[in-house]
Amino acid sequence: MNDMFEYMKPKRDVAIIGIGCTKFGELWDKGLKELVVEAGVKAVEDAGITGNELQLLIGGNMSGGMFAGQEHMGALLADYLGLNHIPAIRTEAACASSSVGLRIGYLAVASGLYDFVAVGGVEKMTDVYGSHATTALAGAMDQESEATIGLTFPGVYALIARRHMHEYGTTREQLAMVSVKNHKNALNNPVAHFHKSVTIEEVMNSPLIADPLRLLDCSPITDGAAAVILAPAEIAKKYTDTPVYIKASAQASDTLSIAARKDICTLEATRTAAERAYKQAGVKPEDIDLAEVHDCFTINEIIAYEDLGFCKKGEGGKFIEEGMSEIGGKIPVNPSGGLKAKGHPVGATGVAQIVEVVEQLRGEAGKRQVSGAEIGLAHNVGGSGATVVIHILSR
């Protein structure tokens, strides 16, 4: 199976010239409209363009239908943003919805067909009961072989965690360390859902969700939106002193059902997408200065270290334990606080990761700044790895 980049080069390079992100959290007084408008207007203002200059609008959203009774999200985004008549598309790939959108936006600009493209993501999750949200999220798994037998996402990742502990000796404490680190990083992120540090003991004593995962191993139900503005690299400097370039945009798919996989301790789609991304960007894992990875559950960050090549298979637990993924460590991971502590408004998460990487590469990340960051990676997973999208960005 080939990716187009193996035989074709993009016609031109693509830059991110504007970013915008709402506060993440239980935003009781904000609906889809307020979230979309806030993130969209921030991104357009940051880019220093006007909305009328935009030529294509792409919005990632996992389940507006089940969370808010709202479908037809593409045109709705254009409507809310006052950009009537612009072509507008909603992309859906579960929790990777908006990074799939970014990839399409990237292709649109790289092909030479569009100059200014806005890509965003939004999810309003708190208007429904927790049980309803769990059902909506379970739509990202194979209904026939997984959801109908009662599996939920905490259950899927619990099975993965248990197997990883069995195969590689990953410990309960190491899982907890991911949560502790990400909560610590979020303290310095003004938009994060949680501003609360947690200890290993607190994580390990939090309510049991799906053995061995506990409440503080799980990302929260979050409202939020994020957006970026894309432009051809050759004109990016006209709009910003600090354009950030998309060096790689890679995507891979896998089976939805984990039972159909050879090995559940690895996400093959991450490995494949990473291989493609590193090749496109011409970089190696050790060249990455920081990464935003998909820690929907703590085990997934540990597996991401391994599948992205930050460490060997089975050594992800050691990687967190030795502080390699701390800010100041070998490869800082989730300086934003990650999905765990920054929050996980599923359809917005992919672009929100990009917003963090751009802030880091611009040197605008304040107290959570990774010093001298030149190259950043964003890793966004849909479901339990049936869709994985990886972007590599550079200054």
Partner: protein, 348 residues
């Protein structure tokens, strides 16, 4: 205008209790995480309901007030578990305590704050000189759907307050309310159990109203936090009132004396009023109490109450909250289901 305030108060807590861990045993819930919510809750016996508890609490209030019940000009009963949808609880209570017939009576409903709404109503009538004494009661046998989070806290209890202008034991110095249309918790006509909006019941509901009403009362009176010796907040669980105190910068020690929820659960309309009774059981003359109720839907009533000298000779005339908390008999979940007539609700 003479000082107007409480001339008698009384509480009632059923003897039966079920432990939170017994409920957790049946539903397979995490016992550890329940500890911050409540330890056990009161359960009405098979022959107890909102009316019987209201009568019991009123009789204690009358013992302390030492007045002729015929002098009570208004009886208001706040509850969300009135036994009849049509036919008042208040008329039964008034008749039982011999306050009828030359008086007015009515039932009130505002989720967990209908009791304090009743106090405001009788306080207003006394202030206006239209009645000599008024009796306001908060009484509930709260419902919780089997297996729902509410089942750990939905309890039974009542508190009654007689308001007048003669021989007061605690002066009502001021009251302030804060009300919005916030649908965080509701039960529609004909439904057996209430529904709630999960985490929405926290920040935009309980905390917004409790904190706004409390701050509003402080502003209206010109008092500071330090002017109060005790704070009583509506207590749906043990976490919320302590969290509200923390947000307002109130020392936990000023909240603990009125925090009865860990031992009896959330008695809904009785909740903050039983907490206030627990504080009146021990407060000294000259001490000042701030009480803020909360009712879903949503609103809060806040009161500034100054304890008077007469409390010393009146409080021992009635039963103390602490003694009622200690007087208990545990039942298991099966008995609880039978007494609460819940069998039909399972799977609903």
């Amino acid at each position: 205008m003479p000082s107007i305030g409480i001339v008698g108060y009384g509480a009632y807590i059923p003897r039966l209790r079920i432990k939170a861990e017994e409920i957790a045993r049946v539903w397979g819930s995490d016992k550890e995480s329940l500890k911050r919510i409540t330890q056990e809750k009161s359960v009405p016996d098979i022959d107890e309901d909102t009316v019987t508890m209201a009568v019991e609490a009123s009789r204690q209030a009358l013992l302390r007030a030492g007045i002729d019940p015929k002098e009570i000009g208004a009886v208001y009963v706040g509850s969300e578990s009135h036994p009849y949808v049509v036919k008042p609880t208040a008329s039964i209570v008034a008749e039982a305590i011999d306050a009828t017939p030359v008086m007015t009576a009515a039932d009130l409903e505002f989720a967990c704050k209908a009791g304090t709404a009743g106090i405001q109503a009788v306080y207003g009538l006394v202030c206006a000189g239209k009645i000599k004494y008024g009796l306001a009661i908060g009484s509930d046998t709260a419902q919780g759907r089997p297996g729902d989070a509410l089942e750990y806290t939905a309890a039974a209890g009542a508190a009654a307050y007689i308001v007048g202008s003669k021989d007061i034991i605690a002066e009502i110095e001021e009251t302030y309310s804060f009300t919005t249309d916030t649908p965080d918790f509701w039960r529609r006509e004909g439904e057996s159990f209430p529904r709630h909006a999960g985490r929405f019941t926290g920040d935009p509901s309980y905390f917004k109203h409790v904190i706004s009403a409390t701050k509003g009362l402080l502003e209206k009176t010109g008092f500071a936090i330090d002017d109060f010796n005790y704070f009583v907040f509506h207590q749906p669980n043990a976490k919320f009132p302590l969290a509200a105190a923390k947000i307002l910068g109130i020392d936990k020690e000023k909240v603990i004396p009125g925090l009865v929820v860990p031992y009896i659960g959330n008695t809904y309309s009785g909740s903050s009023l039983i907490g206030l009774a627990a504080v009146l059981d021990k407060a000294k003359p000259g001490e000042r109490i701030l009480i803020t109720s909360y009712g879903s839907g949503a609103g809060s009533d806040s009161f500034s109450i100054l304890v008077k000298d007469l409390i010393e000779e009146k409080r021992d005339l009635g039963k103390k909250v602490e003694d009622m908390i200690k007087n208990k008999t545990y039942i298991d979940y099966a008995t609880y289901v039978k007494y609460r007539r819940k069998l039909k609700g399972i799977g609903e």
